[in-house]
């Protein structure tokens, strides 16, 4: 871009149009710039102005590009930009082409700001100790690594070095408003980078942050929002009075209706309306929609908060130092309450108020309720809930991220080595308990909750059915694929040998959406702590490798478990064994299926609330049919279930004929 200093006549022209400058020699314009479009404005320091041709449609009327009623200090203004009615000044900003800045109180950047990068959020533990520094490229995995892996000093130090390097990179001398962004009717905006085609309107205050945005998924920050020390990722919508202080808002997150959050992280596809969050680590698909809901000091993902959900992280007046973990897929019922420390197993439902510290991570898919002040748990009950089935279907479909780089790595599987191994452990514990507990005892205390003795075996049975269905189901798929690739029987079977090379295939972990063997995480930890990972990008690519290797790792898990449970390794499978496996798979699937169908009747036992309260999402303008969609989706799932029994039988028959023919 070639700029030329103003000629005398140009200065006279601008002056006659009501413009002034602290020093006209600091002002330069692009060749062919139409000066009649620079009116009643003041210039300070070095200001470069591009081509002022073109126009913008604002509130239904077409307004010309140019600079009107504005003060600019040390700014570069690109082509076709319209800046109009600025309260005090636009200072120290690089403004790219096609930008609209209309009716803004102030847009100011300090030298050497970091725009939200490097702000440390006290997540999960309100008293500190799990700080997560936010950066533009933060992912749910790198946030988890920062916050949850505090045992290794070397690891944390090295990780912080990588993060700090990114923070330094984000240091800029001037703020930026990227191409096509629109900033309309706003209050004060200070030290905020605004991304490509972002739409910022009606905000009250934005300070020290970055609004990332891209053409494929423009970000919107709207009416009444107040945000300090924040980063908002592509495609997010933050609007209607949301109040944020030290918050990271991930891709495709929806937030609004006076939702307030501090020291909190929200990753892909979270939804937050009306309530409050403090020191919250909201992994992907965390949803809270209701007015009196508080989420505090906890780690959540794939979670739905019923109305009035609450937790405490204070105990014995030692201060707010306690934390909670609700593993993926949990739901809390209306006006439910949990006293933290608490650790709830994956895909569990929590109803009622719980005053004991619960540690139930080995009993996933459970139903946790309250009776006369005591916590009760029915293990495995959620395996036969139609709601769980519906969730499994809906999450992948509802991935709203359109940005080309989807940062948070997400494994959607409801049944994965992570949850299945928990079930195996849970099953074994339940069986062992059922053998030890005397008949006279009505219930037994487990992890802070009462477990009915009669339901010990039942819970183990539910887990067994699910484990069998998963294990043998994947096995059948794998064998089918192997036979398609290698028609010769021996070759096919040999091809089943796992190649992942894990030493401990049974231990798995969930890195806020990414399910991976613990061993791999440990390796990553060692490599990072040892200095083998030298950049943040490299760290991201290592995480991506974990994600890419999931299926292979999963297969080794399955092979290992199969060997333990059935005494046969997959390379030594015989046709008879496979036929028997198919029968067993069918039997387990049909049993589970029958029970789920039962549940879809929404019987009014203790479960009723799940069907009629927990999954409700409040509609806003865009969500008019959300509630209806819930009904329709559930009905669609029920319809599908009804036809599934036949599908199960058919799949088994098909498999058997493939084996017979091999």
């Amino acid at each position: 871009m070639a700029y030329t200093q103003l000629s005398d006549s140009q200065i006279v022209q601008l002056a006659s149009q009501g413009c002034t400058a602290s020093d006209w020699s600091g002002v330069s314009v692009a060749a062919g710039c139409d000066l009649t479009r620079i009116v009643r404005s003041k210039f300070f320091g070095t200001v470069r102005i591009g081509d002022t041709s073109g126009s913008h449609v604002v509130d239904g009327v077409e307004l010309p590009s140019g600079i009107y009623d504005a003060a600019l200090a040390n700014c570069d203004v690109g082509d076709h930009v319209r800046i109009s009615r600025i309260g005090s000044v636009v200072s120290n900003y690089l403004i790219d082409l096609d930008v609209l800045i209309e009716d803004v109180a102030a847009l100011v950047a300090d030298n050497d700001a970091t725009y939200g990068n490097g702000v440390e959020l006290e997540t999960i533990n309100e008293g500190g100790g799990r700080g997560v520094k936010i950066i533009n490229d933060l992912t749910s995995q790198t946030a988890y690594l920062q916050g949850m892996m505090r045992h290794s000093k070397a690891f944390n130090e090295k990780l912080q070095m990588l993060i700090d390097a990114k923070v330094n990179d984000s240091r800029q001398e001037q703020g930026g408003v990227a191409q096509g962004a629109r900033i309309l009717h706003c209050g004060t905006i200070r030290n905020v980078n605004i991304g490509l085609k972002a739409y910022v309107h009606g905000v009250q205050l934005l300070e020290n942050g970055t609004i990332m945005s891209c053409a494929e998924h423009p970000t919107e920050v709207g009416e009444g929002v107040q945000a300090r020390s924040f980063i908002i990722a592509e495609g997010a919508r933050v609007e209607s009075g949301a109040m944020l202080d030290k918050v990271f808002v991930g891709q495709a997150v929806k937030m609004g209706k006076q939702f307030s959050a501090e020291n909190s992280l929200f990753f892909a596809n979270c939804e937050a309306y009306h309530g409050e969050a403090v020191s919250l680590f909201a992994g992907p698909y965390t949803v809270t929609h209701h007015k009196s809901t508080l989420l505090i000091a906890g780690l959540f993902s794939f979670y739905n908060a019923g109305s009035g959900t609450n937790q405490s992280n204070h105990m014995y007046k030692l201060g707010p130092v306690h934390q909670g973990v609700l593993e993926r897929g949990c739901k809390t019922g209306s006006f439910s309450y949990l006293l933290f420390e608490a650790h709830i197993g994956a895909f569990s439902v929590v109803i009622g108020k719980h005053y004991a510290n619960l540690d139930l991570s080995n009993l996933p898919f459970s139903y946790i309720s309250e009776e006369e002040g005591n916590s009760k748990i029915v293990p495995g009950m959620n395996l036969v809930s139609v709601g769980t089935v519906r969730d499994a279907e809906k999450w992948p479909k509802r991935d709203g991220r359109k940005a080309p780089d989807r940062r948070d790595l997400i494994v959607f599987d409801v049944f994965s080595p992570y949850t299945v191994e928990k079930m195996r452990r849970g099953r074994d514990e339940l069986v062992s308990l059922s053998e030890r507990v005397p008949r006279e005892k009505i219930s037994v205390n487990y992890g802070g909750a009462q477990l009915s003795r009669l339901l010990l075996k039942k819970g183990a049975k539910f887990y067994s059915l699910a484990i069998t269905k998963y294990l043998l189901g994947v096995l059948m798929e794998k064998v089918k694929a192997a036979l398609q690739a290698h028609p010769e029987w021996n070759e096919a079977i040999a091809a089943l040998k796992p190649s992942a090379g894990l030493h401990d295939p049974l231990a798995w972990t969930d890195i806020s959406g990414l399910i991976t063997p613990q061993e791999r995480l440990a390796e990553l930890e060692v490599r990072l702590a040892g200095g083998a990972i030298v950049s943040y990008e490299q760290l991201l690519s290592e995480c991506k490798s974990l994600y890419d290797g999931y299926r292979a790792d999963e297969w080794q898990y399955i092979a290992e478990v199969f060997a333990r449970e059935y005494g046969v390794s997959v390379e030594n499978l015989t046709k008879e064994k496979l036929l028997a496996a198919a029968e067993e798979w069918e039997s387990a699937s049909l049993s589970l299926h029958g029970m789920i169908l039962d549940d879809s009747k929404k019987e009014f036992g203790a479960f009723a609330r799940i069907g009629y309260g927990l999954d409700q999402t409040e509609e806003g303008l865009q969500h008019d049919f959300e509630a209806v969609r819930g009904t329709i989706e559930t009905n669609a799932v029920v319809q599908k279930l009804v036809s599934e029994a036949a599908a199960i039988k058919e799949r088994k028959e098909q498999f058997k004929s493939i084996i017979a023919a091999a």
């Binding site: 239904g60 209306s334 009014f604 009723a608 329709i632």
Partner: protein, 710 residues
């Protein structure tokens, strides 16, 4: 279709105003449905007596419980069943023995889960019939009556909505909680609120009939997933609208069940159930909505403000931009910007600042305070040339929102014309919006919604004031002749009537046919063609050939007897080549009409609404543009005329670009005759008249080709 004649006379008085209620299957576990239903009745100050019935508990929430409903010593007006579906039959049986006549069955696990549930539902229907019990549900959320005389919250909605004049009926329980939340935020009250679930006994139609006479209800809103008795719905709605002036708004969801079911005719494939539903609703005067928000936007306009008498609106705004948006929206909704009288203009000149825009839309300028709004609004409402007013406000630094809101409410309240408001923005104007909502001034976030609501209200008024259409009586109908043709075909196992048989059927109902004859030899062809008069067309007639053009079985524009003879042979040769196995009945010789406009008429049976008549301009207009209109039979003269005028290409018939107008009256008559035919001959599944050729005005129309499917 629901057969309510088999059912007892529906008694809803005891459902909404019971003096005593028994909750069967309740328990003590807070947070569960059986408990909460009972607790809600107590908590929301029910004016009658409530009895818990529980097999195990001696009391629930401090109230003495009975093991069985028959143990209750006093009469029970209404039973609410929350037992598992497997034992609802036992519970209902006992209700019958006790003499309970009304029930609400909340429990799920009936028809909606499949065959096992269907059986259960049939069982409870039998029991209800035996004891003459009317019930709502099963599988519903319950019933709410906000009338202080009753204050019944027999549902598991957490909070009783505020009292209002809008009734809401929903087939989906899930939607109800969302709607209650939505309405509460906007201070919208309800008179009655019903989730009717599977409608095994009481349907939305029964509820509508009750609400027709309910003095507390001014507007009726319905959410439907499926329509079982379309005709009943239309008739009931029409009755309500014309007899009581209460508007009926329906939000219908769900994709078309039929989907892309293959249809052998154009009408079949074009008459998707959604298009038919749209047409049927419009015919009945029902306002169809596509979102909850739209539904309530219209509802509050109809409930809170007088219905507009005309489409001339005045816009009062304090900012230019929104005024422009509102103007655009006004025009888009086919409303008009009112022209102020000289008197009004004078007042504006005197009282508004010089910079104000005093033509419609009136811009009172950004610094306007309550007094300026009062003048602008008041004068507009007083102007005889104005039918309704839109008030727009954008918050400027000096805008005194509270006072302006109060002033707007007061001023609008003085006149018997509708006034709506749009205070734009969220935080700053919230206090003003609250005032408007509490004073029953309809408020809209966007000018577009405001205009749409006004247009709905206007549409409603037009329908309300319409008299019921009289059907035309036609003489000379020979129904038995048509019936015979159909019976013969069915007896022969045929589902398709070929052209000559279709012609007989159509002719029997007086539809104008082209002169024609069936030739079996080239000599016969020559003679017939001469008798009929040239030019003629000749078409093969065969049960095995449906698409004649495809096999070169049609020859047009034959102008001499000799050509007719040759054509006969040519056609036979073509068929022998293309479809040698086809059994040929003969060659049809028909007068060729060259200069008319081609239109298409059709009949289709919609599972919900019955016989549906379709009209459209033929050829490309149907194939590509799908420019068609529908009405549910019976179609009278006004509806027929409406159908014709509704299509986008209507001007082709009315005379465009120097062309003479066509004989539209004859098409109107043909449509009505077709409607009569469709109703009288239920065996006909689908019917296409394609084309019906319409000549110039005065020269009538003719059926040129027809297909009938049985």
């Amino acid at each position: 279709m629901a057969d309510n004649t088999a059912f007892p006379q529906v008694d809803l008085e005891h459902v909404f105003y019971p003096k005593s209620v028994a909750v069967l299957g309740t328990n003590r576990v807070a947070g569960t449905v059986p408990h909460d239903i009972f607790a809600n009745i107590l908590k929301d100050n029910f004016q009658g007596i409530v009895y818990p019935v529980s097999p195990k508990e001696r009391s629930v929430a401090g109230v003495r419980a009975y093991k069985y409903v028959v143990d209750i010593p006093d009469p029970v007006d209404l039973a609410i069943l929350v037992f598992p579906s497997t034992v609802c039959n036992l519970a209902l049986e006992q209700c019958g023995q006790k003499g309970v006549k009304s029930a609400i069955i909340i429990s799920a696990g009936f028809r909606e889960i499949g065959p096992a549930g269907v059986k259960r539902e049939e069982e409870i229907k039998e029991i209800a019939k035996k004891y003459n019990i009317s019930f709502i549900g099963p599988n519903c959320l319950g019933v709410i009556n906000t009338d202080p005389l009753s204050r019944l919250n027999a549902s598991f909605a957490r909070k009783m909505p505020q009292e209002g004049s809008i009734a809401f009926l929903s087939q989906s329980g899930a939607l109800c909680t969302a709607v209650l939340d939505y309405a509460q935020a906007k201070h919208i009250g309800f008179s009655k609120f019903v989730s009717f679930g599977n409608k095994a006994s009481i349907s939305e139609i029964d509820l509508m009939r009750y609400l027709k006479n309910d003095p507390k209800t001014k507007v009726i809103l319905i959410y439907l997933e499926e329509i079982t008795d379309g005709a009943g719905l239309m008739n009931t709605a029409r009755e309500i609208i014309t007899e009581t002036g209460k508007p009926v708004l329906i939000l219908k969801s769900g994709r078309t069940r039929e989907g892309a079911a293959a249809a052998a005719s154009h009408t079949g494939s074009l008459a998707g159930s959604d298009e038919v539903c749209d047409a049927a609703f419009k015919q009945a005067g029902i306002i169809r909505c596509t979102t909850i928000e739209e539904m309530f936007n219209s509802a509050i306009a109809l409930a809170y403000q007088p219905v507009p008498q005309g489409k001339r609106v005045a816009i009062i705004t304090n900012a230019g931009g929104p005024g422009v948006l509102a103007t655009d929206a006004t025009i888009a909704q086919h409303l008009e910007l009112a022209k102020f009288s000289a008197e009004t203009t004078e007042i504006y000149k005197k009282t508004l600042p010089a910079t104000a825009n005093i033509k419609n839309p009136v811009d009172v300028i950004g610094d306007a305070r309550a007094d300026r709004y009062r003048v602008a609004l008041g004068s507009a409402l007083a102007d005889p040339g104005v039918d309704g007013v839109f008030v727009i406000l954008t918050p400027q630094s000096m805008t005194d929102i509270e006072n302006i809101a109060r002033e707007v409410c007061a001023t609008i309240g003085k006149y018997n014309k509708p006034g709506y408001a749009s205070f734009m923005g969220e935080q700053d104007v919230a206090v003003g919006i609250n005032i408007l909502q509490q004073q029953s001034i309809p408020h809209y976030i966007l000018p577009e919604s405001m205009c749409r609501a006004y247009a709905s209200a206007l549409f409603f008024r037009e329908h309300r004031d319409q008299t019921v259409e009289q059907q035309t009586e036609f003489s000379g109908i020979d129904k038995p002749k048509a019936v015979k043709v159909i019976q013969d075909a069915l007896a022969a196992g045929r589902k398709y009537l070929p052209e000559e048989e279709s012609d007989i059927v159509l002719n029997a109902f007086g539809l104008p046919m082209l002169p024609s004859g069936l030739a079996h030899s080239s000599d016969e062809a020559r003679k017939m063609a001469e008798d009929i008069g040239f030019p003629v067309v000749m078409k093969v007639v065969s049960d095995d050939i449906i698409h004649k053009f495809d096999v070169k079985g049609v020859l047009l524009d034959i102008r001499s007897a000799e050509a007719a003879g040759d054509a006969y042979d040519t056609i036979l040769r073509n068929i022998a080549a293309a479809k040698p196995d086809a059994k040929i009945k003969g060659i049809l010789i028909q007068k060729m009409v060259t200069r008319g406009e081609e239109v298409i008429l059709g009949v289709k049976r919609d599972p919900s609404f019955g016989a549906v008549i379709m009209f459209g301009l033929g050829g490309l207009f149907v194939e590509v543009f799908k420019d068609v209109s529908f009405r549910v039979a019976p179609v009278g003269p006004r509806a027929a005329g409406g159908m014709i005028r509704e299509i986008r290409a209507y001007s082709m018939l009315a005379g465009a670009r120097g062309k003479k107008p066509r004989d539209i009256k004859s098409v109107e008559e043909a449509i009505q005759r077709l409607s009569l035919l469709a109703l009288e001959l239920p065996e006909i599944k689908e019917l296409d008249i394609n084309p019906l050729i319409v000549n110039d005005e005065g020269s009538g129309c003719y059926v040129a080709d027809a297909r009938i499917m049985l």
